[in-house]
Subunit: 333 residues, 2 copies
């Protein structure tokens, strides 16, 4: 009895030891929020292909550069780009110091919540808003302004901090890629210094791996102390054909995978997937009007038309948000 | 006797095991090419201070951003910036396709090796040379041109590839910093796409950690294939007050240590060392006319005057090349 008991215990322990790693592996799907469909399978196959040593598609870690758009790809972009909502809040906060804004467009429209008049001010109005809210302070001051806004502002629909509205499946994808030796970059049309205060905490992407649009800055000594002052002048627009330009300027190496959601990402996807060796392109298609939003070719924000057509021609993966994602946001879990 | 022999063997082995790590450590000084002086001691003390967990000066790895100038700091810059010598070689190579250059300055001066006339063409002439040699091709083509030149061109004095003229003590410093969790960046007035083809191989610094001056590029589809074409138009000058601007733009985080050799690095050193917490500034002073060159405030290339004065006021470390460095170049070893 004693011997049988010992043998049983030994056998039991042996089995537990042997199956434990399998259990652990099966239980921790790195892409747990992705439904098992063609999109997930394509991602898994791509990662396996370029990381398999000795395989025909193997890429050394230094070459595993991957680029992600931000608005609409890593977090939501409705009812408007969150940075525009920041600019609007900022103009309202600064209004007491600018009595002239009460009668000046596009500021008047912002202060009166007149969306129609704001839209009518067009790109010129938008640039005026950005300059009034993003320039005139030092880079350190601007970082603080953005950090404070992110801590207090709430999304109009979800009543949550904007940084809650990141896509859980994309967070898992970022982590999965990094766990496999990939270096993850953001390449966004949004402001580089608007994103950097939160990308490391939210996405695990450090500031030096964030590329975006920017205004000029100027080095100055103020009372002997060096500062960088933000000027109301465009330096670089990191959108559409500007995205490959930004990638080459900031990274200097062609990525092997690109992830976007709109026509603003078309050229980035073209540039990335035209490189030699195994490449991967993916477009997030917003198809979930219930949990997030459903929009594509007719949307003013994040329009997706040409890039969707080309995705089919080029074999880029199109994520159907509604079908492919078990959850949208981390707070749903 | 047998027992004594055994005991002796055991004791001997024990001693060998105990002293082995000490031997290994003493034998592998990570800064072996640095003479033991104030400069080396200051470097060692800084690295120890910011990496000591629980210490008052501790910095987490993400904050251990360090920036290095290139020309005169990581490799030599005499008789002229190596990139200018590249531009001259390139103009000579392209001359058969440009018969008009025979009578046009500054090209005439280059083709006739007329240094005086070349100097007389000033900054305007220099920009013309750079544009003629650096623009008009795709980024992929330019990378190949630089790679081919580096493989075949020889330094006029040393008769060696330019990439042989890197400073052995600085290579050791880069490696020592990286081994301690620092992230090493180049911040150079030189061309970003001139440096990137060799920085990873020579310095262990990947292209995405190289910041420099650049011209504009344009995205185009040629027969359906995306290319980036280099345009004869300045995009960004990463020198003097441009260096902190470049650091903020490309890295987005203030470095904790900066290494330079000329007045072109002054603002980078100011910006870096004015940050909160432990900071480190270092200037390489070219004092070795025999093994390298000796120059400072009167040199046209790599002038060092204001930054040397400020080094004393700010407590930046000044490396005396002749006294502090056992060897200059790797090939001397």
């Amino acid at each position: 009895m004693n011997i049988i008991h010992k043998r049983f215990t030994f056998t039991f322990c042996l089995i537990m030891i042997l199956i434990a790693p399998i259990h652990a592996r099966a239980g921790s799907d790195p892409l747990a929020s992705w439904n098992d469909g063609t999109a997930k399978q394509a991602i898994v196959a791509f990662v396996a292909a370029v990381t398999e040593k000795g395989g025909t598609d193997y890429m050394p870690p230094a070459e595993r550069i991957v680029v992600f758009d931000n608005d609409g790809t890593l977090w939501s972009e409705k009812p408007a780009y969150f940075q525009l909502l920041f600019a609007i809040d900022r103009v309202k906060a600064l209004a007491p110091q600018h009595p002239e804004w009460k009668t000046q467009q596009p500021f008047k429209a912002v202060l009166e919540n007149d969306i129609k008049a704001l839209a009518a001010s067009g790109e010129k109005g938008l640039i005026q808003l950005v300059m009034a809210s993003h320039a005139g302070m030092t880079t350190d001051e601007f970082e603080q302004i953005v950090t404070d806004w992110l801590a207090t502002a709430r999304h109009p629909k979800f009543k949550r901090p904007y940084t809650d509205l990141v896509f859980q499946p994309m967070l898992e994808l970022l982590a999965h890629l990094r766990a496999n030796g990939f270096k993850t970059f953001i390449v966004s049309g949004g402001g580089i210094e608007f994103m950097r205060p939160f990308t490391e905490k939210i996405y695990g992407i450090p500031p030096e791996q964030v590329i975006g649009s920017s205004i000029k800055t100027k080095f100055e000594l103020r009372d002997g102390k060096p500062v960088l002052v933000r000027l109301p002048e465009i330096f670089f627009i990191d959108d559409k054909a500007g995205k490959p330009v930004g990638i080459q300027k900031f990274i200097g190496r062609r990525p092997i995978a690109a992830f976007g959601n709109s026509d603003g990402d078309l050229q980035m996807l073209q540039w990335t997937t035209a490189g030699k060796g195994k490449r991967f392109g993916l477009i997030v298609h917003h198809t979930d009007s219930k949990r997030e939003w459903a929009y594509d070719c007719k949307s003013h924000v994040g329009r997706l038309s040409k890039a969707l057509d080309q995705a089919q021609a080029e074999g880029w993966v199109v994520v159907d948000m509604k079908k492919d994602w078990k959850v949208i946001y981390p707070f749903e879990k």
